[in-house]
């Protein structure tokens, strides 16, 4: 399944919505899209994963790279609406201990105000 990445600004938080599979064919596109936000100073990032049923380790690299880049600049990269299959991969990879996950986009966006 191809992947689409879109973004919108909600207050001071950028919500990046991903739809499709994140794999060796698409992860570079996702990495580039996420990195471009960080490069432009949009370091309060929420990734809406409600439309993603599959991520391989290529996708995990994109997520971890963005997390590092955002936090190193004083921001954060948070995940919203992670689907069960992807959540399992995050757990198996030890990512649930370093990434903040929220049930939906609104909660994730609101978490930046806390």
């Amino acid at each position: 399944m191809p992947m689409e990445v879109t973004a919108e600004l909600l207050g001071h938080t950028t919500v990046v919505r991903v739809v499709g599979s994140v794999d060796g064919l698409t992860a570079d596109t996702l990495t580039g899209a996420l990195q471009s936000h960080v490069d432009e100073g949009r370091i309060r990032l929420v990734c809406d994963l409600s439309g993603v049923e599959y991520t391989s380790s290529a996708g995990l690299r994109a997520l971890l790279g963005t997390l590092k880049a955002a936090r190193q600049q004083g921001g954060d990269f948070r995940l919203a609406a992670v689907q069960p299959g992807v959540h399992r991969i995050l757990e198996l990879s030890g990512f649930t201990s370093i990434l903040k996950l929220y049930g939906d986009v609104d909660t994730a966006v609101a978490s930046f105000a806390e």
Binding site: D23, G24, L25, E53, Y54, S56, S57, A58, L60, R61, L64, G65, L67, K68, R71, Q72, G85, I89, L92, S93, G94, S97, I98, L99
Partner: protein, 142 residues
């Protein structure tokens, strides 16, 4: 009923889409459940990525073959190359616990394969190369 299929491509990035399409179709033809199909697809992707990146490093890409056999009780997928020898049992353990700033980018592929499959077998190919056999039992809880 057994569903069998095979594909051989050059181990290059240009082949990845064909290889992934092959395994998706094979899983669909064997009527795997979504969770099992995702596990098989992901494991095959990790193996193919490793072979494409490292198997023929420094020389022209050689062959990469996938053999799929799905029966009522399990799926067996063999991935074979003629690249540099690599026994996955020698893969370094993944870092699953470091803080975010010390966590390396990568090194999770083989870990995921072992977690998602019920069996992972390795044998060197006599004429040079590697053969990794993945077994996923149907309706198992792995």
């Amino acid at each position: 009923m057994t569903h069998e299929a095979r594909i051989t491509c050059a181990a290059s990035r240009d082949s990845l889409a064909s290889l992934l399409r092959f395994i998706e179709e094979a899983c669909a033809n064997a009527a795997l459940g979504q969770e099992e199909a995702i596990a098989v697809r992901m494991s095959v992707e990790e193996l193919c990525e490793n072979i494409i990146k490292y198997g023929y490093a420094g020389r022209e890409p050689g062959p990469l073959s996938i053999e799929f056999a799905g029966s009522d009780d399990q799926v067996v997928v063999a991935v074979e190359d003629r690249g540099r020898p690599f026994d996955p049992r020698q893969a370094p353990p993944p870092d699953l616990t470091s803080d975010w700033d010390r966590r390396p980018l990568g090194g999770l592929g083989w870990h995921l394969v072992h977690k998602l499959m019920d069996e992972v077998r390795y044998e060197p190919v006599a004429e040079g190369g590697n053969r990794v056999t993945l077994v996923k039992r149907r309706f198992a809880t792995t």
